[in-house]
């Protein structure tokens, strides 16, 4: 199994290229948004998410219950403190068992204004598959936790361990005649609850 | 200022009025223009077919022929770009300095008029609806206008000049700078795609209400004219220099059929 490794490294080393320095980003040249929250909401809605503004976690359930899709009889799991579901991950043996999930309620770490993406690291969920296998996804986010763009997002992330994903809108496809259909393999809908004000 | 007129071979042979118009416009501004008749072709057909060895002597001839002029002006973005953007590798080892001189003094016609002669307005009116075809090499190599792919603002030189012709109405196709499908030998080697591309351009300009399609490159227009005449469409083609020189809109209509 070491064969390919040596061949590739030998090939690469047999051709020395003049060094080119890694570029340093000039942050002055990057886009600036006057209102991060407004930009985030615009972007999130552009990618098909629904954004709700709430004062606290306590008011989320009421808003959810007004939604046509939401029904407390369905299978609901939550990893958000103060927002209980009816499905407990503690009995789960394999990720396949999450296939019955109708709703998954999670917290996002921070959002990105330019594209509506939300950072969800593995430690916000019981199993990362929950993010993708649920029919409907709810992400709770503090409005103070917004970054303007991906450069700032990665700077904020710094070094992290394990798995993490940026989620921007519900899953979608346009593979059939370029018609956009929400709900490909992942969640059909994404509701974002923004709590409080921007920093 | 002595200007050497660099006339693409197909213009010399098939559209002499384009070269005459170019000459006339330049002379109107008091430019002293010469046509060195040892010139033939810049070598682009060979280079674009991959035959660099056959194109190289053409490049060397160009340097010889135009070395004594202050400027070289050419009514074609494509042939100009051949000289300014694609000759480099012919002079890697020998003749680098001579080539650099040629490169720096070679200008496409609209570029030369817009940047050096800076006309305030043209005298002869052209009371027609004109669609501007942005020929690819003028656009994406010489950057004579705004490229729709690039998020950088660029002056649209041809549009600026046309706006100074009395009576002329500029109309815009929806795909503002799509290729017409000429592409030199591409027009023959990939005739089916080439024709399909030309057809789209024509339909787009017709939709915009153009009576005349103009461009800085007659080769694109030759291809479109071929399609238009076969289909007996009333849409006419004219090189930009012909409009600026005050030619009527039927100037290029082929008389072959009637004789």
């Amino acid at each position: 199994m070491r064969k390919g490794r040596q061949i590739i490294l030998d090939r690469v080393r047999s051709r020395v290229l003049p060094d080119r320095a890694a570029p340093q980003i000039d942050w002055d040249r990057l886009v600036r948004y006057d209102d991060l929250k407004a930009q985030f909401c615009d972007s999130a809605e552009f990618v098909g998410a629904k954004v709700h503004h709430v004062d606290s976690v306590a008011t989320i359930r009421r808003t959810l219950e007004e939604s046509a899709e939401y029904d407390s009889g369905k299978v609901i799991a939550s990893t958000v403190e103060g927002l209980e579901g009816n499905f407990s991950a503690s009995q789960v043996q394999s990720p396949q068992e999450y296939q019955s999930l109708d709703w998954m309620l999670i917290r996002g770490r921070f959002g990105v204004a330019e594209n509506g993406a939300i950072w969800v690291p593995a430690d916000e969920v019981d199993d990362r598959v929950q993010v993708f296998i649920t029919q409907h996804l709810v992400i709770v986010l503090e409005a103070a936790d917004l970054e303007p763009h991906m450069h700032a997002a990665y700077q904020r992330l710094g070094r992290f361990e394990g798995y993490g994903v940026f989620v921007s809108g519900p899953s979608k496809t346009a593979d059939i005649e370029q018609s956009l259909v929400l709900g490909a393999h992942g969640c059909r809908t994404l509701d974002i609850f923004l709590i409080g004000r921007c920093k | 200022m002595r200007v050497g007129l660099f006339v693409p071979c197909y213009i010399d042979q098939l559209y002499p009025d384009v070269a005459i118009s170019t000459l006339e416009v330049l002379e109107q501004f008091g430019v002293q223009v010469h046509f060195p008749n040892a010139q033939t072709c810049c070598g682009q057909p060979m280079a674009n077919t991959g035959c660099a060895d056959q194109a190289a002597p053409m490049a060397r001839r160009m340097i010889e022929i135009f070395h004594s002029f202050d400027y070289v002006v050419c009514p074609s973005g494509s042939c100009t770009a051949m000289v300014t953007h694609h000759y480099g590798h012919f002079f890697h080892t020998k003749g680098r300095d001579a080539y650099e001189k040629l490169r720096k003094k070679t200008y496409e016609f609209t570029q030369f008029v817009a940047e050096f002669l800076r006309p305030e307005r043209f005298d002869i009116p052209f009371p027609h609806r004109v669609g501007l075809h942005q020929s690819c090499h003028g656009l994406r190599e010489l950057r004579l206008g705004q490229c729709s792919e690039r998020m950088l603002e660029t002056r649209d030189l041809a549009g600026e000049l046309l706006s100074k012709v009395p009576g002329l109405t500029l109309v815009k196709p929806t795909r503002v700078d799509e290729c017409c499908g000429f592409g030199g030998t591409f027009a023959v080697a990939e005739a089916d795609v080439s024709v399909a591309m030309g057809q789209s351009r024509i339909e787009d300009h017709l939709q915009a209400g153009a009576e005349v399609v103009t461009a800085g490159d007659m080769s694109c227009l030759m291809h479109l004219q071929g399609l238009l005449e076969r289909q007996k469409q009333p849409l006419r083609v004219m090189h930009l220099a012909q409009i600026l020189a005050g030619r009527p809109k039927d100037i290029n209509v082929s008389t072959r059929g009637s004789s």
């Binding site: 064969k3 990362r128 490909a184 | -």
Partner: protein, 477 residues
């Protein structure tokens, strides 16, 4: 080896169905338009392109260092890193992992690399069920067709075609063509496959040397389900997918989806660092000709490619000839650069399937000078002797003619005379591809040089050009 590809013939077939050709053109133009809107909303767009190209150049220059660093970091996080010099070794490695774990059913998300290595038929021949999980890829897999686009693999199909395919393969009632309904059908079908799979294979969009992370971008969520449900995740990547630093992702995640589909970012941008708890994570690094491209000053930048497909969407030839006309794993401008690198003879017509309009170069988010590379390939193909004799000889003749101005002038006059005198039936026939749908250009009696000689030459004598220097020119080798 497959037969030599002749693009013009395949294109002719595609163009012949004019209605479908125009539909295909507009479907892709629609994507190009969405890309324009997103790029225009990003004021630093051109700056990002520059940064992306610089990052790639930096990584290429230090590739050995970064490959080893990546291996070290990925291994430290629990991944198993494999190296494959070519497609065969890659396929063997993947099969080896599957066999060792007794895997018989896998789901695979989009990966042009595994397409390039022909992994599916290889695994199937060894009794492994491979299900492509991207909707477009699943559709063409059922139809037993290759993808016609790297981002939109089924863009050549109409919704009715998809309905038919699902009717045949999934047993849905006939004549269903609503994309929503069809997508729902595929969701149900693939859900079962995801739940059943014993391993998931994904492609890789970016791999980060300093962290050992593998980043996968999708809209459907298929890569993420495939990498999260089964216990084994195998990520297959070309070595050019490597970038040095995590912060470099800021540049690429901003460019990729905007260029590809006109979204500000893909729905899911997954960062895999090590296996999930209790699982296995394998990364296969593949060369398969990439170091050869890296060796070439002319073509190296082709390795910048992030497989966004923007060059296809903008290419006026691709839009009107369809992806299958290229008979290559990657079609369109970037494919016409990469395919001859793999086999110049087989793919010799591809660099000529281009009008040299240059739109691909300007649209490319990583600044690959695509149309210059296509031109360079034409020279390579001529040098290697793969140019058809007709082209070679006519260019030799032209060069001779253009080196002799007087002869050129005489031949020009004769040509114009012939053009004027030749009867239509003789002028317009199948041997004249120009004239099949186009009139020949006008044939004026006098050339410009004749006119100039008559009207201007005397009152406007040439300043220098001596006859001796002309002589000199004409006798040059």
């Amino acid at each position: 080896m497959s037969a030599t590809v002749h693009h013009p013939e395949a294109a002719k077939e595609f163009v012949a169905n004019s209605e479908r050709m125009q539909w295909h053109d507009m479907a892709l133009w629609f994507v190009r338009n969405k890309r324009d809107l997103q790029a225009a909303k990003t004021p630093e767009w051109e700056y990002l392109r520059e940064l992306a190209a610089e990052i790639k150049a930096h990584t290429q220059a230090n590739l050995d260092v970064y490959l080893e660093e990546f291996e070290r970091q990925a291994a430290a996080r629990g991944a198993v890193v494999h190296w494959a010099a070519d497609a065969a070794e890659h396929n063997e490695i993947v099969l080896g992992i599957l066999q060792k774990n007794g895997v018989q059913r896998i789901v695979k998300s989009k990966s042009m690399l595994t397409e390039e290595c022909h992994l599916n038929p290889f695994l199937e021949a060894h009794g492994v069920e491979v299900i492509d999980s991207d909707l477009g890829e699943r559709i063409i897999q059922m139809r037993n067709e290759p993808p016609s686009h790297i981002v939109l693999p089924a863009i050549h199909l109409k919704k009715e075609d998809v309905g038919n395919t699902f009717h045949q393969h999934l047993g849905i009632p006939p004549h269903i063509s609503d994309p929503k309904v069809l997508t729902e059908v595929a969701r149900g079908h693939l859900r079962r496959k995801f739940l059943d799979a014993q391993a998931g294979i994904t492609g890789v969009n970016f791999a980060i040397a300093e962290t050992g992370a593998v980043v996968v971008c999708t809209n459907e969520g298929n890569a993420d389900l495939g990498a999260s449900l089964p216990p084994i995740h195998i990520a297959c990547m070309g070595i050019e997918k490597l970038i040095a630093r995590q912060e470099d992702l800021g540049v690429f995640t901003r460019l990729l989806a905007r260029s590809a589909t006109g979204q500000p970012i893909t729905t899911y941008t997954s960062h895999f660092q090590g296996p999930k708890p209790g699982g296995q994570f394998h990364i296969v690094l593949v060369d398969n000709g990439r170091t050869g491209i890296r060796d070439s000053d002319q073509f190296r930048e082709a390795l910048n490619c992030i497989r966004c497909g923007a060059c296809m969407n903008t290419c006026p030839v691709y839009r009107r000839s369809g992806g299958h006309s290229y008979a290559a794993v990657v079609p369109g401008p970037i494919g016409s650069v990469l395919s001859p690198a793999a086999d110049a003879k087989q793919h010799h017509s591809l660099p000529f399937a281009c009008s040299l309009c240059g739109s691909c170069t300007d649209v490319c988010p990583v600044k690959i000078p695509l149309h210059h590379q296509l031109l360079a390939w034409r020279q390579e193909i001529a040098r290697l002797g793969h140019l058809p004799a007709s082209k070679r000889l006519s260019m030799k003749a032209a060069s001779f003619l253009f080196s002799h101005p007087r002869l050129y002038s005489i031949v020009g006059s004769l040509g114009r005379l012939a053009l004027r005198m030749t009867p239509r039936w003789l002028l317009y026939n199948r041997l004249n591809p120009w004239g099949i749908e186009r009139e020949m250009p006008p044939a004026p009696r006098a050339s410009f040089r004749k006119w100039y000689d008559r009207e201007r030459a005397r009152q406007n004598p040439l300043p220098v050009v001596s006859s001796s220097s002309q002589q000199n020119m004409e006798t040059q080798p």
